[in-house]
């Protein structure tokens, strides 16, 4: 059976591990070729270890094992020029992009208040998403064959969660900001048949959430732990659950779905 994304090319940020790697694999399983970027470096205010070049290499191997092509490069979503260079090299290698997943994000929440955490999370989680769409947009419009863009927000893009620290407030502000970007881009790009939607995951079983510092942060404030509880009896969802939602949004089955905030949250948002 032919895949649902046969012949498509997807540009994915934050693809070295976690949700980004899962998206690369899930889309490749359905026939897509992948342009994968990731910073593969630490940012000082991020209290847990970020992805490494070895992580990105593991994504490459996983996609190649599916007999799909992948072009992977280290790039920082905060660096417009570097991101554009990676994108253009990927397009030269694999062909024009049909799908964009602005997935890269950080969660600089910790008990130790870092002054620069606000700016860093705004730069990566909001400006980085903007840079990603701006990088891919011109060629998608010029090509005139439509496309699909999914911006990764959070339940913290719908609700005032994330806690009182500079990093937590920045995270929630950035994830809300993504919704504004998504709605504007959906309108601006609709005449070009380019659809734009956002996904809003609850806690996902990835290194960004499942690490000692995040657990300490959540346990320090009992109301946070309570606030993180889903309606469905599941503590953390898996990366593939977000990938499946994104796969559907970028597929032909969702051809008239645009401007939608899709929670993948085990009923978390509805419970509030």
């Amino acid at each position: 059976m032919a895949g649902r994304l046969e012949g498509k090319v997807a540009f994915i940020t934050g693809a070295a591990r976690g949700q980004g790697r899962s998206h690369a694999i899930r889309l490749a399983q359905e026939g897509a070729d992948i342009i994968a970027v990731d910073i593969c470096k630490q940012i000082a205010t991020v209290p847990y270890p970020m992805a490494t070049p070895e992580d990105l290499e593991a994504t490459v191997k996983a996609v190649e094992e599916l007999d799909r092509r992948i072009y992977a490069r280290e790039a920082d979503v905060r660096d417009e020029a570097g991101l554009r260079a990676a994108f253009e090299e990927g397009v030269a290698e694999l062909g024009p992009v049909d799908i964009v997943l602005a997935n890269a994000g950080i969660a600089p929440m910790s008990m130790r208040e870092e002054h620069d955490a606000w700016q860093d999370v705004i730069d990566v989680n909001l400006t980085g998403v903007f840079n990603t769409v701006e990088t891919a947009k011109p060629s998608m419009i010029e090509r005139g064959k439509g496309g699909a863009i999914v911006l990764t927000s959070s339940t913290a893009g719908i609700n005032g969660i994330g806690g009182p620290t500079r990093g937590g407030l920045g995270y929630t502000a950035a994830k809300h900001g993504i919704v504004g970007l998504m709605r504007s881009y959906a309108n601006v790009l609709a005449p070009h048949n380019i659809r734009v939607n956002s996904v809003h995951p609850t806690g996902v079983n990835t290194p960004m959430v499942v690490n000692d510092i995040m657990q300490e942060f959540l346990q320090a404030d009992p109301s946070m732990g309570q606030a993180m509880a889903n309606a469905l009896p599941v503590e953390l969802i898996e990366p593939v659950d977000v990938s499946n939602a994104i796969l559907w949004l970028v597929s032909e089955e969702a051809r008239y779905i645009t401007g939608v905030t899709l929670p993948v949250d085990a009923g978390y948002t509805n419970k509030k």
Partner: protein
Amino acid sequence: MALPVESVEARDISNAVLFLASDEARYITGLEFTVDAGSTIR
């Protein structure tokens, strides 16, 4: 409509319902889901 289309087809609703009912959406619940070619956000 925001997308250049006058109306959606019945099968577009069917496709959305199929997705929501499938195991691929196993942790998606309690939402309103628009299949409206972007008309809500205009």
